[in-house]
């Protein structure tokens, strides 16, 4: 395999599974002029009452042109409650198909059941995102081919640009009609938006809705539209409601997480961003949620209103929306039932497709309109490069999510993380894997110090007289090493098990096999 050094100095391959790829050249460096988007084949439809409902999954699969090596896609709106991925893969395995390319937007522990199919070659590799034990299996070299990891925006781009052709999209829906219109806000398995599957329904050769709640035509709202759907499969249950979303997101009690969140919010205040029309995105982790709470308090005190919050909806944001300190929530997923309810009932809480939210090969995306992005990390290095996918021992345990898209788009990108986790320091000389280049990271906030990227002299100037514990990233690394000791270097195998794609499709880094 030919290897080439990319703009971050990482050695990356020039082809992945036979497909030529370019080395990463810079966060916004790719030249796409002259290229055109991929397009689905032309279907046709006739007037009349069409019923796309099949007699179970088997009949739908009987009708579909199944083949070895085809690419099947899924969304992760049902999170750890999802029954769909396992159900479809088990059926295809029973039918003897192999070398399938799995293109999920994310996987959860419930999908650990896929590991035997990865080991037996039913699944040749994953394109998209993986975590937990499936990621571990990938790290140990159990996948036949090289996996490709993409951000949410990167996945949409890959589908639209033709790098990832989906043969069949399987789309779980908590409500659907016989025509294939579907949403995720109604029914016993309600999960919120179905936005992750929007691009799949538009670009896949075939789309199949799988629902446990068939409603009379038309199913409104229609997150997925019947014009893009071939078949509708009804099943008893698409997922375990208790695992799909939590009731109400509980705020963390961890004093350290609260402190980090408070530092981040105070930083935002000190650089003058607690202002009318603020826009922000913070994830659903303990620190991010607490950050939202502190932010809301500060905005209330100052009497200002945020224009919109982007990203995963949760009860904290819903409360802000209902109390009037936030005008809109634009989201791609829901983290709790409060968010699902709000999305269903509140006109100022809207579903946003991944293309609208994150796509770099578009005429604009919401992430590029953000003032503040707050994100987590497993490692950060002295160049501010961030790793969210692998641990320091090289194991691939986390998905990328929208991280690179939010970091690229936000005016101020803040990483929040404890300075060490179970003795393992977070700030390192070099990250194990680059998920996001340091040029897009502005601030790192830990409980033992806040580091501003030297590229952001404006932020350094604004916080010159701050009482916050601001220090250089080198200083913080040394401080933490004094506590934890310097960890031993981990030797990885030469074999590449996955490539990390940048938003534009270039290769940012590789993930190597972990020695068992």
């Amino acid at each position: 395999m030919e290897m080439i050094k990319n703009a971050l100095g990482r050695m990356v391959p020039t082809e992945v599974n036979g497909r030529a790829v370019k080395p990463y050249a810079g966060a916004f460096a790719d030249m796409v002029s002259g290229r055109r988007k991929a397009a689905p084949s032309i279907p046709r439809c006739f007037p009349g009452r069409i019923n796309k409902v099949t007699n179970g999954l088997d009949q739908a699969l009987d009708k579909l042109p199944l083949r070895d090596g085809m690419c099947i896609s899924f969304h992760h709106h049902l999170r750890n409650g999802d029954y769909i991925v396992n159900m479809v893969v088990e059926n295809l395995a029973r039918r003897g198909f192999k070398d399938l390319v799995l293109a999920p937007t994310a996987l959860f522990p419930v999908h650990d059941k896929l590991i035997p199919y990865i080991e037996s070659g039913v699944i040749s590799h994953i394109e998209g995102s993986m975590n937990g034990d499936v990621g571990r299996a990938c790290s140990y070299g159990k996948m036949k081919k090289t996996a490709t990891l993409r951000s949410h925006g990167g996945r949409v781009r890959a589908v639209q640009d033709g790098d990832l052709h989906i043969d069949i999209a399987f789309i779980g829906a908590s409500a659907a009609d016989c025509y294939g219109n579907a949403n995720g806000v109604a029914g016993k398995s309600a999960c919120g938006p179905l936005s992750y599957s929007n691009v799949d329904s538009l670009y896949a050769d075939y789309s199949v809705i799988i629902t446990d709640n068939l409603v009379p035509f038309p199913c409104i709202p229609w997150s997925i539209q019947g014009g893009n759907v071939n078949y509708v499969v009804t099943v008893d249950s698409i997922g375990d409601p208790a695992q799909i979303v939590s009731g109400t997101t509980k705020l963390t009690k961890s004093p350290t997480q609260l402190l980090i969140a408070e530092y981040a919010a105070r930083f935002v205040e000190e650089i003058g961003y607690i202002k009318e029309g603020l826009s922000f995105q913070a994830g659903a982790g303990g620190i991010s949620l607490a950050f939202n709470v502190y932010l809301a308090e500060m905005m209330k005190k100052k009497g200002v209103t945020a224009s919109f919050a982007h990203g995963g909806g949760n009860s904290v944001l819903v409360k802000m929306l209902e109390e009037g300190s936030l005008k809109y929530i634009c989201e791609g997923q829901c983290f709790d039932l409060d968010a699902v309810r709000s999305l269903r009932e509140n006109n100022n809480h809207v579903e946003s497709t991944l293309s609208i939210s994150y796509n770099y090969h578009a005429k604009g995306c919401i992430a590029h309109m953000l003032d503040i992005g707050v994100l987590g990390a497993t490692e950060i290095d002295l160049d501010f490069n961030v790793n969210v996918n692998t641990h320091s021992d090289g194991l691939l345990l986390h998905g990328t999510g929208g991280f690179p898209d939010v970091a690229a788009g936000s005016d101020v990108t803040i990483i929040t993380a404890p300075s060490f986790r179970k003795r393992i320091p977070i700030i390192r000389e070099k990250v194990t894997t680059v998920t996001c280049p340091g040029e897009l990271i502005d601030v790192v906030v830990t409980e033992r110090g806040i580091c501003i990227n030297p590229r952001r002299q404006d932020l350094i100037d604004k916080t010159k007289n701050s009482k916050l514990p601001i220090k250089s990233i080198e200083e913080l690394m040394e401080d933490v090493y004094k506590i934890t000791g310097v960890p031993e270097k981990v030797e990885l195998d030469d074999q590449i098990v996955a490539v990390m794609e940048w938003r534009d499709g270039s290769v940012l880094d590789v993930i190597r096999k972990v020695k068992i």
């Binding site: 009690k253 004093p255 350290t256 609260l258 402190l259 320091s392 021992d393 986790r421 179970k422 003795r423 393992i424 409980e447 033992r448 004094k482 506590i483 934890t484 000791g485 960890p487 031993e488 981990v490």
Partner: protein, 408 residues
């Protein structure tokens, strides 16, 4: 220390930031064998093994299987657990294997802010390592009520190591250790282990008579002398029984090392046989008594803990009340409570403005050579001036800008 030497002993647990060390004596000729399991094995297994080997060598351990199950413990924790487990099997009595004792952070101050007094269970390394980050005025490393009897022995090693560690895990907070009462079997052993590790202050629980303090002082003095400790370790008697309340004044005066009397409502209500209620009427008189006793003896009084960490409004109310009764601080069990308590004890802008006016009036009167000082229609007498000075001093201590609060 009094305990039975055993052939097999454990210390610690495999919780986050902790380690379980098991020692098992073997037949002669076995040598020392060390096994390490760890959630951070890839990075620290060799280090942990060498730490154990060095400890065994230092204590001349013979024929022992040392099994280590680590979950990201820092060195001071690993050493504490190793030392405790080995000690139980008869090795290294009294010898500190964690190397030199760091005395850099020992700063006993008689008079300092003690608004927030945060309890940290002494046997919980995961809470201890970040305890110094929250800006509590005082941190109490607890050996008493939050530690189960079978953990008392092991906990002392953790608390001793955190106090003597080169890394400053406790920040600029006052370093307090709550020992067990001398009336039980643990109190004396606590002092023997903790005093040489130099806490700023010792919190003495269940104080009922002056003798309780005098007895502690006698032991502390002896240990200080043996260890060539020059600065005096301070005391903080904790009053938590009816008898203690009745004898509070004598307790407060029993030692010149005592900096404040603390009140403990949980044990007190149990002692007098009533329920502890939210508005605390049942402890009102006792709390007042403790304040009067402390003030009469020339020291401060600190109120009981507020134990509902979810109820921030309740905490605010309770702190406002404590302040109004004459207490200078509250006991806390979660770092999230600190901010509210500090807010309550901070002088208000109005108070600072008035204090500035008073001080200005005095200056003006002085420059005019006037004997009688008036502010508006009010006479300014000595107590008013004293209070104004105190307000400004307190504000300064708390880092509140006083000059900005202009005289209007």
């Amino acid at each position: 220390m009094s305990f039975n030497i055993v052939d097999q002993a454990v210390s610690g647990k495999a919780d986050k930031s902790d380690v379980l060390v098991s020692c098992c004596k073997k037949e002669p000729g076995y040598g020392v064998k060390i096994t390490v399991k760890s959630s951070v094995k890839a990075f620290y297994a060799k280090h942990i093994e060498s730490l154990a080997a060095k400890s065994a060598e230092e204590l001349s351990v013979k024929d022992m299987l040392i099994e280590i199950e680590d979950n990201g413990a820092l060195d001071f924790v690993i050493l504490a657990r190793l030392e405790a487990a080995l000690h139980k099997t008869g090795y290294g009595a009294g010898k500190n294997i964690s190397g030199e004792i760091c005395r850099d952070y020992f700063k006993p101050e008689f008079s300092r802010l003690r608004r927030s007094r945060l309890y940290i269970p002494g046997n919980n390394p995961d809470l201890i390592i970040n305890a110094g980050l929250f800006g509590a005025d005082s941190l109490i490393l607890d050996l008493e009520d939050s530690v189960a009897p079978e953990q008392k022995f092991d906990t002392r090693y953790i608390v001793r190591n955190i106090l003597t560690c080169k890394n400053n895990f406790l920040g600029s907070s006052e370093r307090i250790v709550r020992i067990n009462p001398l009336s039980c079997e643990y109190g004396r052993e606590d002092l023997e282990m903790i005093v040489p590790a130099l806490p700023d202050t010792i919190l003495i629980p269940k104080c009922e008579t002056a003798d309780d303090i005098i007895e502690v002082e006698k032991i502390v003095k002896k240990i200080e002398h043996e260890n060539n400790i020059e600065s005096k370790i301070l005391f903080m008697p904790l009053i938590e029984t009816a008898k203690g309340v009745i004898n509070a004044y004598d307790i407060a005066r029993a030692s010149e090392r005592s900096v404040a009397l603390c009140f403990g409502a949980e044990d007190f209500t149990r002692d007098i046989g009533c329920e502890r209620t939210r508005d605390g009427r049942e402890t009102f008189s006792a709390r007042c008594s403790v304040v009067y006793a402390a003030k009469a003896a020339g020291i401060e009084a600190i109120d009981t803990v507020f134990s509902d960490i979810e109820d921030s409004e309740g905490l605010r109310k309770s702190t406002v009340e404590a302040q109004s009764l004459g207490f200078c601080g509250k006991g806390l069990i979660h770092p999230g409570q600190i901010k509210i308590v500090h807010e309550v004890f901070a002088p208000t802008d109005e108070q600072i403005r008035y204090a500035n006016k008073v001080m200005q009036a005095i200056e003006e009167a002085k420059s005019r050579g006037a004997g009688v000082i008036a502010l508006g229609s009010k006479m300014i007498d000595a107590p008013v001036v004293e209070r104004a000075k105190k307000t400004l001093e307190l504000a300064k201590k708390m880092g509140i800008e006083t000059a900005k609060k202009e005289v209007r």
